[in-house]
């Protein structure tokens, strides 16, 4: 691994992102627009939006970053640039960390739009510190990037890469506690829910919405998200083959 190569990769990915208005819209506009829709779907029951609104700060970054990363790495593979890079001194972790850093920057931008709009225009109320919300949201975004990279390291074709979204993300959304509280789930679903990193983001965001501080519970949740993201990056680097058949 080499920081110079990692940062050069980050810069290159951000240059590409800047030229891609559709992806920028997907990252910056869509989550905010959908959160606004959610707000008006529950227009006559503000309590529902107060409960689920904060969770969108976890779910949207995860889902959008996963999709954008999967597509970007897939293009890297089908365009042959991945093969070219594999003949250079670039370490696989340089590439994966380069992506993680670039999309972390994008995640900060995403939250910088989503959070103010939610708080100021949509009437979202949170008790916890803003920095903690931003931290959790950015970590979930990095988790989305890491899972996207891991998923595409396993995928051999475009079709397989697309299949990764329903396989890796939808179960997390179903079981994270958005639709039913996690403690009301049966033992099997509860265990599955405990195994899914998004659950910890939702726990942390729910607590930050109603409690004024950043307690040890949220610290543990945050550490779990960061740990899973890091593990996914390392496994992704280990499984990405330099040689193919």
């Amino acid at each position: 691994m080499n920081p110079r190569v990692t940062l050069a990769t980050t810069r290159r990915i951000l240059q590409q992102l800047r030229r891609d208005p559709r992806t920028i819209a997907l990252l910056l506009v869509l989550p905010t627009a959908l959160t606004a829709v959610l707000r008006y779907v529950f227009d006559d029951d503000q309590a529902v939006f107060t409960r689920v609104g904060p969770l969108m700060l976890g779910i949207f970054p995860l889902a959008t970053m996963f999709v954008v990363t999967s597509v970007a790495t897939l293009r890297e593979r089908t365009g042959g640039t991945l093969e070219r890079l594999m003949t250079t001194p670039l370490a696989k972790l340089d590439l994966l960390l380069g992506y993680a850093l670039a999309f972390s920057v994008a995640a900060v931008a995403q939250i910088a739009v989503l959070l103010p709009v939610s708080l100021l225009l949509l009437g979202l109320e949170v008790e916890g510190p803003l920095w903690a919300l931003v931290l959790v949201a950015v970590l979930v975004a990095v988790l989305g990037v890491a899972l996207g990279l891991l998923g595409s390291a396993f995928a051999r074709t475009e079709f397989q890469a697309v299949q990764m979204f329903p396989a890796l993300i939808l179960p997390q959304v179903l079981l994270c506690g958005l639709f039913a509280p996690r403690d009301s789930m049966g033992p099997v679903l509860g265990l599955l829910s405990d195994l899914m990193p998004l659950s910890y983001a939702v726990d942390a965001l729910r607590a930050l919405a109603v409690e004024p501080g950043f307690g040890s519970g949220q610290a543990v949740d945050t550490a779990v998200i960061a740990g899973v993201a890091l593990a996914a990056l390392l496994v992704g680097a280990a499984t990405l083959p330099r040689r193919t058949g």
């Binding site: 110079r4 290159r12 365009g79 070219r84 594999m86 001194p89 193919t244």
Partner: protein
């Protein structure tokens, strides 16, 4: 032989469950332009991928610059241009090459140098996706030349180019060889064979001939290299 940049020996490769290279052996010395000629599907790309170390091989060995192909110690000393351009279509020529130069740890001057070499200075700040196919191919080539690699592996670099440009590129290849690099250049057009210092003719994953163009003409009794290839195929079928 210390002089050997590439040494392929008894190479077998299986792709998609089928053996596509059946025991390939040859050497490439420094300072030589080796032409890897053969019809489409004969295994040229597979062989080049094995040389740059991105192809899973079944058996045999490929040594490059004194180390196994793809070894950490040779990455960055081998330039590789794939058949279809492997560059970022949404970045400019300069941005593309600057990134690859950073990955190789080269100074910024290296970028301008290769842009000049492939004659793209006038288009350096254009987005690659907006260039013509031939120009994109030269960006791809420029990336393979970054840092003056000791071994340069080019997969069909002249396909689809106009004769003037093709002429220029072949002159460039010989220039690079004269500077001490070894080049392996593939083509499915026998016309190009005459421009190489030496030829390895590949057919259905087997080396049909390994000779200089002059030896090939003499051995098959024809000046036309296309004819020479056909005669070799016929000889092989009779044997």
């Amino acid at each position: 032989m210390v002089n050997s940049c590439v040494r392929v020996s008894g190479l077998h490769v299986v792709r998609g469950g089928r053996e596509v290279l059946h025991g390939i052996s040859f050497d490439v010395p420094r300072g030589q332009v080796l032409g890897l000629l053969g019809p489409s599907g004969s295994g040229k790309t597979t062989l080049l991928r094995a040389i740059v170390g991105v192809q899973v091989v079944a058996s045999g060995s490929v040594d490059v610059l004194g180390a196994p192909a793809g070894d950490r110690s040779v990455r960055g000393r081998v330039g590789y241009a794939t058949q279809s351009p492997a560059v970022y279509g949404d970045l400019s020529v300069r941005e593309n090459l600057a990134y690859f130069a950073d990955v190789l740890g080269l100074p910024r001057g290296a970028v301008a140098e290769v842009i000049e070499r492939v004659d793209l200075a006038a288009h350096a700040d254009r987005v690659v996706g907006a260039l013509s196919g031939g120009q994109r191919g030269r960006v791809n080539l420029a990336a393979a030349l970054l840092g003056g690699p000791e071994l340069i592996v080019l997969d069909e670099p002249t396909v689809g180019l106009d004769p003037v440009l093709r002429e220029r590129l072949w002159a460039l290849f010989h220039e690079l060889a004269a500077e001490g690099a070894a080049l392996v250049v593939s083509s499915h057009v026998m016309e190009e064979a005459g421009r190489c210092d030496r030829l390895v003719l590949l057919r259905e994953g087997v080396v049909l001939a390994d000779a200089t163009p002059a030896e090939l003409r003499a051995g098959t009794g024809t000046d036309d290299l296309d004819q020479a290839f056909l005669r070799l195929v016929r000889q092989e079928a009779q044997a």
